[in-house]
Amino acid sequence: MIISPLLLVLAGALVGAVVIGFVFSSAAHRGLLGAVLGAGAGALGSLICMLPLDYCMFEAERKSIDVIFGVALVGLGVLLALAPVAWLSGKLLRRESLVSATSQPTQGTFRHWWIALPLLAPTLTILVLFLYYPSVETLRLSTMLSRLGARREAFVCVDNYTRLFEGSAYFDVVARTVYMSFFIVVLSMAIGLLIATMAYLPVKGASIYRTLLVWPYAISPAVAGIIFLLMFNPTGGIVNYFLKNWFGVRPGWLNDPSLAPWTIIISSVWKSIGFNILFYIAALQNVPVDLIEAGAIDGAGLLRRFWHIVWPLLSPTTFFLLITNLTYAFFDTFATIDYLTPGGGPLQSTTTMMYQVIRLGVDNNDLGKAAAQSVVLFLMVIGITVLSFRTGGRQVTYGA
């Protein structure tokens, strides 16, 4: 199956013409102008991904999965081009302000818009150097056969991506990452809230054990990893020493494929719980006491007061912690995994997406494949964050 570049550009133009034409005609009855504008944007959009890749996935000897990838990338490019055009033209045609009402400045503004640029320059410079440039470089590497320390690189089109769809190995890694991250986030936040609620109670010496509770967070992941390794080692570890003496069992904490992920989950939860406690204690201190007292006078029990008064007031903190914990579970569990189950666990049972990226890139020196997997990981985290802002973000109550 051969699809010519011209055909793809025309397809992009067609989609653009229809979409923007529709936007224009619904707003100001000038559909033709919109269609022409949209056709241009769509045609250009179809080139965004294809110019750097040179339509490589449509070459004659390519497999159909490459073609599907190519069409998807053309679609992505068209989408990237059309979204701002549609948004902008919609706003302009309805003569709406480009700045949303909530972010309208309430106090003084700069006389000239360009004054903002030098003020933003330091931040932008750092972002470009350390974030945007590496991201673009990662995208480029992901289309290469590239090894650390090698003399040259070879262009391999989207092979580094399509090979992820061969067999189920990569899907297993993704499923495992989601599984482990879910339990790390939920357990860490739930237990953190429980402990914070108790530590918040006015008892003697509260400040001392509040400090002690936050301690695990201050320990470096590597040290935490070694502590847990010595404790959970199936032979010679202290946990199994006691379990054997008391219950006569010796679970394979680190060498049983079904148990090893849970050892990682437990130690990651322990590691991150201090952070959650810290934020929940701070949030609990901000819950107005008179609200709770009013609830108590009205006859609401402890649980009812918590569920109907405290929990909604904690929601901004919960939402913030949800995002930070997710980031932690996805990106920062590497050291824990590497110390407890070096090599990614029995039957790769503790190999998360992040762990696999580092293992491929650093241990195997295979930069191209590692880059492709890190792009996938990046897209997934973006997706989850957007999703949580869309769903969870709506239920957040700011202010009492």
Partner: protein
């Protein structure tokens, strides 16, 4: 007049600025940075040697940087090379030899030394280096890196268990191991498991070399660049079948840890007497002997047990060597060479061996230790050396040279993991690991072959 005064003042200023800095430059020692892939007591020892070196050669100042593993070191060096921030000397493990040779970042030692027999008054004397190390690190008789830490895989036995089971000496063959384990596991105070080893590809390579079987084609990559692995042979299958049998019988303990960081789990199992025997690197002979002394048992080191069906040809080396960065200034290069020779001179080779259990890479050092009575007092310490000396040097026992070796090891390690934990067919697992490894080699050669 004003102009003259101005000129004189300027002159004086220029002189004042130039003179002292010139004087300082003349006295300033040449700085040489050395990256070592250790982070424990072994790194401390190298730092002590560097201090000794700096005192002896005040014109140089060697600075030791450590804390990286072998795998991290390779990545770090590749990044540093891109940024032109390489140090003077780098320590790589034996598996990185082909990658380092291909990288173009290093100057072959033979080329840097030329015809010289000494540097800064220190004799080089490559003829004094033991044969297995020479066989591994030379290319057509020329040294590409400088020999330093050489080890071999050996066997440690907790003699309390072995004797209790009715045996006087450690097991010599795979069949012996099986027999010993049957006895040991039948004891009243039997350990949890009979034996263990780190799931690191190096051990598979050792058992392969013992059977005189190749790891990669083209005479283990020594006749020509390796293009395919050769380990999915009868010899390789024999190893997998034996290991699988040992695991299924409950003799072999598998900690689940894989790769270069799997050593620690074996230490803990052996130290707590959860296993009676362990295959390990000779690099920790001193530590393993002491573990026994401190925990009330006797450790005896012996040759790594071999396949009785095919006999024993020999074992290969492990450890690492020192690489000279290319493009250094002549002074730095001279200093770097001097330090490498200093680090592996007779006294230091002997002291390094005594501290760790790595083989003393110089014949003269072994002779010195022999005369001092060290080997007679510490019989465990002779085992690795004897195992290497008695080995027949063949392409198989010289060890493999292949690009992407660390990644290939991970493929073997992964297959071993599946061997223990699933019911998959050993031959199928080996073939799958081989095809994974072949992809690595093919891609590596595509990017690196000249």
């Amino acid at each position: 007049m004003k102009k003259v005064i101005f000129a004189m003042v300027m002159m004086a200023l220029v002189l004042a600025l130039a003179a002292p800095s010139g004087a300082i430059q003349a006295q300033d020692p040449v700085k040489i940075e050395v990256w070592i892939a250790f982070s424990d007591y072994r790194l401390d020892w190298v730092k002590e040697v560097a201090e000794e070196f700096n005192a002896m050669f005040p014109q140089y100042q060697v600075n030791i940087v450590g804390g990286m593993s072998y795998e991290e070191m390779f990545a770090q060096v590749s990044v540093a090379a891109e940024q032109n921030a390489l140090p003077g000397v780098i320590h790589f493990n034996e598996a990185s030899t082909q990658d380092a040779r291909d990288s173009g970042n290093f100057k072959p030692i033979a080329q840097a030394l030329g015809d010289r027999t000494e540097v800064n008054g220190l004799a080089i004397d490559f003829d004094d280096i033991i044969e297995p190390t020479t066989a591994y690190y030379t290319l057509d008789g020329n040294w590409t890196s400088f020999p330093w830490n050489t080890s071999s895989a050996i066997w440690f036995s907790n003699m309390n268990f072995v004797n209790a089971a009715g045996f006087d000496t450690p097991p010599a063959t795979w069949a012996d191991v099986d027999e010993y384990c049957a006895g040991i596991m039948a004891l009243d105070n039997a350990p949890e498991y009979c034996w263990t080893f780190p799931n690191y590809g190096w051990f598979f390579e050792q058992w392969l070399a013992q059977q005189d079987a190749l790891f990669v084609n083209n005479d283990n990559g020594r006749a020509d660049r390796a293009t395919e692995v050769a380990f999915n042979s009868d010899a390789g299958l024999a190893i997998f079948n034996w290991l699988n049998d040992q695991y299924d019988k409950g003799y072999l303990y598998y900690s689940g840890a894989q790769g270069g960081d799997s050593w620690g789990t074996v230490d803990q199992a052996y130290q707590t007497q959860s296993v009676a025997m362990a295959a390990y690197s000779s690099s920790d002979t001193t530590l393993y002997t002491r573990m026994g002394e401190e925990n009330g048992f006797t450790t005896v080191a012996s040759f790594l047990p071999y396949n009785q069906e095919t006999g024993w040809t020999g074992n290969l080396i492990g450890g690492g060597s020192l690489w000279l960065v290319d493009g250094l200034t002549p002074e730095v290069e001279e200093g770097a060479l001097t330090f490498m020779i200093f680090l592996s001179n007779t006294e230091h080779a002997a002291a390094w061996h005594q501290l760790t259990g790595y083989v003393a890479v110089r014949e003269s050092a072994n002779q010195m230790l022999e005369e001092e009575g060290w080997f007679a007092e510490n019989p465990n310490q002779t085992v690795a050396m004897q195992q290497l000396v008695q080995s027949t040097v063949t392409p198989a026992t010289s060890g493999a040279l292949v690009g992407g070796f660390p990644a290939i090891r991970n493929a073997v390690t992964g297959a071993t993991d599946r061997l223990f934990l699933t019911d998959e067919d050993p031959a199928g697992l080996l073939d799958k690991a081989a095809s994974e490894a072949n992809v690595i080699i093919e891609e590596y050669n595509l990017l690196n072959a000249p």
